[in-house]
Amino acid sequence: MGRLKYYQPEYECMDYEQLKELQGKRLAETFRHVYENVEYYRKRCEEAGVTPDDIKGLEDLDKIPFTCKDDLRATYPYGLFAVPKEKVVRIHASSGTTGKQIVVGYTKEDLDIWDDCAARQLVAVGADENDIVQVAYGYGLFTGGFGLHGGATKLGCQVIPISSGNTQRQITFMKDLRSTVLACTPSYAAYLGEALHDMGLTPDDICLKAGIFGAEPWTEEMRRDIEKSLGIKAYDIYGLTEVLGPGVSYECAEQKGMHVNEDHFIVETIDPETGKRLPEGSKGELVFTAITKRAFPLMRFRTKDIGVLTREKCACGRTFVRMTKPMGRTDDMLIIRGVNVFPSQIEGVLLQNGYQANYQIIVGRENNTDTFEIKVEMVPEKFSDVVSEIEKEEKKLQNALLNILQVKAKVTLVAPKTIARSEGKAKRVIDTRKLHD
């Protein structure tokens, strides 16, 4: 255990009644801020007959209209920003359901909030300023790298911004620089665990004590495997670009669900069909409202992640509500090597490139890495008697897919009419990974 027990105990262990009051106050302020600065959302509120005067506290949450992923697409790029552009100091992005990216922004203060949220996670896994944090999440538009980087920097850790990939160097740095905390996707952590052993090393040769893993689903079994192969305790972190990035919620030493940073985000579970709020303990779609961020504070954002909330007292002493790791999705989004992939994106690329929208996605896991294959029906226009001509077209399609999906897929050309038609999405996607307990 590190020197610190909590990063900001005044919030993390706040009395629940006090917390509700703080949330109510911040909700009213932020709702007014969004209403006054985001025309698109103000119209939505006007249609619903809601004004800032109606939102006085937490009890008025139900009156606030939802925000959906479609709203982000409709307002691309700046339509949901609630501050003038000169206040925005950072942009991040993730994939949308079509070719368009979802773009979000942060003010300086927003980044501070993010750093705090990520620092709380680091402290919860036992880190303090003496730790060396190897950030093996990707850096760039993806929030993973910068999120943990900011938190670790704020906490005063030594940060190794190694980003993802180059496995040999990861292990070498781990060993030579004596990293104590690793942050990356769980599948990459599992892969690093194997690589360590392949290089003839054991957990005794490295100094890692904890890992912070998120951005994709993983199971308890995978957790135990990673813990064993790297000789660490492995913790779950949750976040999404639309709401913040990693650090919306974080696991503590108890490893029994993730505490939601409730001084910054209000979480609810709703029935995805009716939109009705569900009582604590029931499985539903997770909905988040940002109540402190200023550049991109979404009101009641529907995540399409399915989870359960509990206010049961946690032995760690934190009072923040805990959420289970997502147990599935209400849509057909896939997470492949940590990247969000929508079948509709693939469909779009195929049509644009002269193929039919008839395809099958096959996702599996080999050596702890996701395999991703797209079977595409050959069409007369792309067929040739010369192999290299077909391969040229295949390569073109592969590049177009990579460009949109940001994750590499293996394209396999199959004969026409061999992929079953109109059998629904169950047939369109074959996912043999075991992602949920």
Binding site: M378, F383, S384, V386, S388, I390, T412, L413, A415, K417
Partner: protein, 143 residues
């Protein structure tokens, strides 16, 4: 002078080729020549038959993806050095060869090479100038 070749797209799986040969057999289509090209994930069967239109129809009716295109068929003596002679002519004239395959017919001491280059008309010209005998589709049924 060219012949019409039918190319058929094949998936890379065990039954793909036999399904093709079965379809041809059931329709009583005899192959003059066949050549297979394959990659790690798909294949192409290229065939020469007597009746191109009828064969194409049968294959399409059985959901095969086919393409018909002209290729050059040259008649060469079934003797050492004759293929080398053809290839030397192509090389000397900088004709880029995509693929080729050979077959024999009923005529004794004669063999045939199917030649596919990037630019077919230009290749025909080069071969004709060198007095290489090429056959056309109507001759196919007699060889």
């Amino acid at each position: 002078m060219t012949v019409q070749q039918i190319s058929i797209f094949l998936e890379n799986k065990p039954e793909a080729l036999s399904r093709l040969t079965q379809t041809l057999a059931q329709s009583d289509i005899s192959l003059r020549a066949i050549s297979l090209a394959d990659t790690s994930d798909f294949g192409i069967a290229r065939i020469i038959v007597d009746d191109v239109e009828a064969t194409k129809k049968v294959l399409e009716a059985n959901d095969f993806l086919v393409k018909v295109n002209p290729v050059i068929a040259v008649e060469i003596p079934d003797a050492p050095g004759s293929l080398n002679h053809i290839l030397t002519i192509l090389a000397d004239n900088k004709r880029n060869l995509e693929y080729m395959y050979g077959f024999t017919g009923r005529k004794a001491n004669q063999a045939y090479m199917i030649i596919r280059t990037t630019d077919i008309p230009k290749t025909e010209e080069v071969l004709a100038k060198a007095f290489i005998r090429m056959v056309d589709q109507s001759e196919i049924r007699n060889i």
